[in-house]
Amino acid sequence: MNMLEVRNLTKKFGEITAVDALTFSVAEGEVFGLLGPNGAGKTTTIRMLCCLISKTSGEAQVAGYHIGNKTDSLAIRKLIGLVPDNIGLYEELSAYENLDYYGKLYECPERERREKIEYFLKMMELWEKKDQPVSDYSKGMKQKVAIVRALIHDPKLLFFDEPTANLDPESSRVVRDFILRLKKEGKTIFINTHNLGEAQRICDRIGILKTKLLAVNTPEQLEKSVWGSRTEVQVEKVSNRILAAVRKLKPQDLSVEENRIILTVADPQKQNPDFVQAIVSAGGRIQYVTQLTPGLEETYLKVIEETK
């Protein structure tokens, strides 16, 4: 079952199109990441899906409820948890008071609310400081409280908008590990992020957004679809004879960088031995044969670059 079903979702602010005809789905238990530069429409997308702002056109369903329908909007907000890009805690209140307030707003019964606050604050190692005003907390501690706030009502779908932005590496790691823990528990998670390493580690599938959705796939498939399979062969010295022998085997693409021959091939496991044999037969002395994995960052940059 799909937890999120989005079809041609569009948002315009006056003449400006912030999000253009977005179409994708997120299955139950899946972690979906939305990558994109600043102003790409990531936050606008989350806000539409959380029923915080209206759509201009298109359709979106959250757990079967339609966004844009007033009755469904309340039902959707009961089912989701949002960790916005700004932490947005009440600084004068303690962590416990902040969470208790949100527990009430999410209509959690008192006993359940108390138990959950204790469970999560202990898990986040904040229980000892539960009565201190949040203004005394570090940024990482505040982000932990903001995450618990989104979990207090046991939501089916969690939205994270830049969850590790502005956090130090240690706090980022704590937050990332917690998201991975939620993933293991089978929560459906939708993440907006700039952090490509984080997206690669956490997300099952990734969408690249720049007003339009440019690509959607698993990180591995995305790299493959953008770059193809590339093999780098480092030889002692590249000669015309070697290159002629390689070209005879018709690789999809061939480039030379110093003493490295970079080949794009359709089926590396089948074709690479033939290329190696051809290079050796042409007198080449092979130093290394490496499968090139460009990484999500290069893939992302290439996809974004192609739109310019």
């Binding site: 806000r47 702002i53 907000r77 949002l82 947005g88 209140l93 307030y101 009430k104």
Partner: protein, 243 residues
């Protein structure tokens, strides 16, 4: 609209204000001066010639200060209640909960309105008690309670408070700074202050009838402001247009 949800929002604000005492203190100084300070001016007057004629006239004008106080009291709380949320960027997670715009707006209004109403009532009680205590020997009867103070405290005061709450919500939607919002919000006192000055100069008599006409005018203005606030307090407007 569920009142229980609105009450949750208001209760959270009460808790916040209890931890930010400066908001409460800055709100009640005017009320303290009026309810405790002014009776002593009346006490000083009791020893003067023609006090019997002058005191009722002065008290009629002084009573109207409880309308001004009722409008002034919610300024600090209402502006902090909304701008505080804006500054702490807590509106987005709040709006993401299953709470309607009306419930949040009513909750915020209750949080500003009830303390104002309570403080004004207590202030009026202190004022009328002290005045009766100081003037009984001179006037030979209790000046308070009378219909004018009842209309002021139970009708004009709450209406002025409601107007102030609505006006301050409108101001807060366009401001990012609590202090500037409070300064702009306090402008609500100007028309009411003008009424007070006119009454002191005997241009306007604050008779029971005139007070009731004033209440009718405030009802009409409150209704207009209510619709303006309702149009402003929409979650999309709050997230995308509130500066």
């Amino acid at each position: 609209m569920r009142l229980s949800k609105a009450w949750m929002v208001a209760s959270k604000d009460f808790k916040t204000f209890s931890k930010r005492k400066n908001i409460l203190y800055s709100s009640i100084y005017f009320e303290a001066i009026v309810s405790i300070g002014l009776p002593f001016i009346i006490r000083y007057m009791t020893g003067k010639p023609n006090a019997v004629a002058a005191i009722p006239f002065i008290l009629s004008a002084f009573s109207f200060l409880f309308v001004i106080g009722a409008a002034l009291l919610p300024v600090g709380i209402a502006s902090y209640s909304l701008i505080g949320e804006k500054v702490q960027k807590s509106l987005e997670p709040l709006l993401a909960t299953p709470t309607t715009d009306e419930e949040i707006l009513v909750g915020k209004s209750i949080a500003a309105f009830l303390p104002a109403l309570g403080t004004n009532l207590v202030g009026a009680l202190i004022f009328t008690t002290l005045v009766d205590l100081f003037t009984y020997n001179t006037l030979k009867s209790l000046y308070y309670p009378n219909w004018d103070i009842v209309i002021i405290v139970f009708l004009l005061g709450p209406l002025a408070s409601l107007l102030s709450v609505g006006y301050n919500v409108l101001i807060s939607s366009r401001s990012n700074d609590v202090r500037s919002a409070q300064q702009l919000g306090a402008l609500i006192m100007l028309p009411l202050g003008a009424v007070y000055v006119l009454s002191e100069f005997k241009v306007l008599n604050l008779t029971t009838n005139n007070l009731l006409i004033g209440a009718a005018v405030l009802v009409a203005i409150d209704v207009i402001v209510f619709y303006l606030v309702k149009a402003t307090f929409q979650r999309e407007e709050i997230l995308t247009k509130w500066k």
